[in-house]
Amino acid sequence: MDRIIVDQITKTYATGKGKKRVETPALRGISFACAEGEIFGLIGPDGAGKTSLFRILTTLILPDSGQASMDGLDIVRDYAKIRKRVGYMPGRFSLYQDLTVEENMNLFASIFHTTVRENYHLVKEIYQQIEPFKHRRAGQLSGGMKQKLALSCALIHQPRILLLDEPTTGVDAVSRKEFWDMLDRLKAQGLTILVSTPYMDEAARCDKVGLIQEGSLFSVDTPQGICDEFTTPLWAAASDEMYPLLKDLRRSPEVKTAFAFGDSHHVTLANPTPASEHQLQEWLRQCGHTGITWKRIDPTIEDRFMAFTTESHV
């Protein structure tokens, strides 16, 4: 059964009054479902509507229209019950900075009428890593430790669904991998996890991915399925001078798009034929580039995302 069902959710914020009233749509009819023991990744930039959706699903704000259920419970009618079953880690560190690690844990446990001792087994693996600092105030913790404390607090009441709003933003590559390993283990225990992230490489670690932009989900599929939606042939180009190469690629009429991707530039052609490829490489040589490499590659989720966001702005 689907643990999270979101059906045509809309939300618009209004500011000002009378003639000065401005309406800003945050969610324009979002629908998706997430099964038990599944990690659903919501991928999109700041302002795409991710946090609004999290606040609706955690029953903190009401949608304007549409329906959603969490663990079979309606987000409007059954809001009080949902709060007991959902663990939420907001994007901004929201624990009490002037309470210690241990005091924060005890507070969140007692809010849900339980104790840290009773549910220690649920958080043990994560909490043990910060337990040596349990007398330190939360405000004095490093970013990685704050993140572990916030996750421990979100898990202490044994939720069935975990909602994580950009848990890895600003976290280093090693800690990000460790965090996702933790999510895999929580998933194995049957937790359903809805997680948002701006890091496209993390999408590959989700069972299903939804790409969100300006309040609309434009693609929902498995990570592989999303990559497969990118049907235009894609090449990786490199030369000894990468930034001039990017500018020269964009100046060529053969090129449709060119974006920097680490050690190469990903390129699509306006008219992908061998003749066009040849012409482009000739142009790059004329521009004075040396050490040119050019090869066909498989698209990544980031390619798919950027193709969508750039097309939608044309």
Binding site: A173, S175, Y199, G262
Partner: protein, 247 residues
């Protein structure tokens, strides 16, 4: 004058018994894009705070923008730009007010301020938003604006602390193009990031582990030395050697 924008010599910072930055020495050339990497807690922010003269080293010395860190900290501050990890503009001031405020702090004349404000707004395409509160702008725009403001006084070096965290992939790339432009105009760029693809965009990269600089070279050489296919692999190999807890 020397060819280096930064010359750090045995810089060390101790907090009680804890050595946050442990005897680091390195040079950054003028106009270079220098990537300053490390895991959370490796000592990056502490090292950067010393280089921008906000924190006094326990021992060691450095020259930044040609000035002595120990003797001329105020000159250093005037000749660098800094964009902090947490958004550094005032959310409840408008775009134009923020520019005016920072330009004023760096001592720009009214005339310079007027022409640079106009140029900045035009370059970012923010002319019609200049009266809007910065808090109401999308993150991508805020980051671009914060960078432009950080180099408004044409500093010799700009320090960027995780400038692209949480930004969408298109804006992230647009931001790096601004970095390239700044470097091309002669500004030295000292940047930290958690995106390993961005490490590839740097001329040279250093990787801090447990307060020390364990590797420093071009991305291509680092990949060769560590027999790695990507900077991500290089970073993981080095950062996993860390013994100190993420404090």
């Amino acid at each position: 004058m020397s060819d280096y924008a930064i010359e750090a010599r045995e810089l060390t910072k101790k907090f009680g018994a804890f050595t946050a930055v442990d005897n680091i020495s390195f040079d950054v050339s003028k106009g270079e894009i220098f990537g300053f990497l490390g895991a959370n807690g490796a000592g990056k922010t502490t090292a950067m705070r010393m280089l921008i003269a906000l924190s006094f080293p326990t021992s060691g010395s450095a020259k930044v923008a040609g000035f002595d860190l120990l003797k001329q900290p105020e000159q250093i501050k005037r000749n660098i730009g800094y964009m902090s990890q947490r958004f550094s503009l005032y959310q409840d001031l408008t775009v134009r007010e923020n520019i005016r405020f920072y330009g004023g702090i760096y001592g720009l004349s009214d005339q310079e301020l007027a022409s640079r404000t106009a140029e900045l707004l035009q370059r970012l395409g923010l002319e019609s938003e200049s009266g809007q509160l910065v808090g109401s702008l999308p993150l991508g725009w805020k980051q671009k604006l914060a960078f432009s403001v950080a180099i408004l006084h044409r500093p010799r070096i700009v320090f960027l602390d995780e400038p692209t965290g949480g930004v969408d992939p298109v804006t992230r790339r647009a931001f790096w193009e601004m970095i390239y432009e700044a470097a091309a105009s002669g500004i030295t760029v000292f940047v930290t990031t958690h995106y390993m693809d961005e490490a590839e965009y740097c001329d040279r990269v250093s990787i801090m582990v447990d307060g020390r600089i364990d590797a420093l070279d071009t991305p291509a050489n680092l990949k060769k030395i560590y027999d790695a296919g990507s900077m991500d692999e290089v970073f993981l190999q080095l950062a996993r050697k860390a013994t100190r807890t993420d404090g």
